[in-house]
Point group: C2
Chain length 213, copies 2
């Protein structure tokens, strides 16, 4: 009944989720140092060895499915109308990622990532994949603009950094303004000029001019 996805796939996804949730629960309750993969596997109802088929280490398990979550960003961008300006499209795509504030588990996970430096590295690894995908999508999107080669990567890197900063801030403010709005505000506060439009060029000086040496 459920789907076109074969049982095998669904089971893998379920196992993966179970492991990630188990890892999150234990790490959240007892701290990352006390987290042993043996306990994760047990709670998820698989063997220790199976854990290793899914994740290389416990940190990866805690970070869990975050990478997939960010993959949505690439999708969201792809769905923006082609005529839309790149930066605007990026801002919209980012905002669409959080139509509503994320659920508790996600928040717990992100808080943990903030608290434990060891997890930060693992999170980055997952972000790295997104960076590449986003970079590629930006390149495809702006192909007709004939943007110089390094540009897509720059845009992707900056965009992700803004999303990171937004989430960080949102976590600190206990969700005072919805995440969606924080992201939008931050995205519009940074502007990215393309060499062709020169948008930023006209802008940047206004900042620097008066206060400049």
């Amino acid at each position: 009944m459920s789907s076109t996805i074969p049982l095998r796939e669904r089971k893998k996804i379920a196992t993966r989720a179970a492991l990630a949730n188990a890892a999150l629960d234990i790490a959240d309750k007892h701290g990352l140092a006390q987290l042993r993969i043996e306990d994760i596997a047990e709670r998820a109802g698989v063997s220790l060895r199976t854990f290793r088929n899914y994740f290389p280490n416990k940190e990866a398990a805690v970070v869990g499915l975050l990478a997939h979550n960010s993959d949505l960003l690439v999708e969201a961008l792809r769905e923006r109308p082609a005529e839309e300006g790149l930066w605007h499209a990026l801002a919209q795509a980012c905002a669409r990622l959080y139509p509503t504030d994320p659920d508790r588990a996600w928040v717990r996970r992100m808080r943990l990532l903030k608290a434990e430096p060891a997890l930060a590295a693992e999170k980055y690894r997952s972000d790295a994949g997104v960076l590449d995908a986003l970079s590629a999508e930006i390149a495809a999107r702006s192909e007709r603009l004939a943007l110089p080669e390094p540009y897509p990567q720059l845009a992707a890197e900056v965009t992700l950094s803004i999303v990171r900063a937004s989430i960080d801030h949102w976590l600190d403010t206990a969700g005072a303004p919805p995440l969606r709005e924080v992201v939008l505000k931050f995205m519009t506060r940074i502007s990215l000029g393309t060499p062709s439009t020169g948008a930023a060029r006209s802008d940047a000086p206004t900042i620097s001019k008066d206060k400049l040496s």
Copy 2:
């Protein structure tokens, strides 16, 4: 003759450097997978146990002193004249980091970081420390401007991401334009508006209003 720094300190620094270099050499030659901390320690002339007093794992050793390198960014920013506009000061500080193109060891290290995801993740961990320091310095610097709280973090995050993108690009182009120039170009291509100046706002609204859901 040498310094006011006591012998003990200097020895620690030397040992740390020796370990980092040993790790780089081995990883570079035989690949990260073949890198064992035992070999690193041996090549550096210390016991395996001592390695552990310096680095938590081999990845950290390969990344080595990069964090310190980035600390210089904070210093460089602090040295910019107080009257200078923030974004301009940041751009200058970044550029000053690379008055001349970095040495071979640094390049080898960075290339390795690009090639091995595990190392990229570790580098990010070290960047996290820089992010905090930079954020704090920006906050201190722009205190008198009474910038809203999340602003320094945003600026720091974006700045670091631009530096990362610059280095990445520079590595790819085999140093065609000097790194210093790449950084400057990228920094000026992004502009960061403060709420007070509203610089970016003039750009942004065209974006969100009409096309928004």
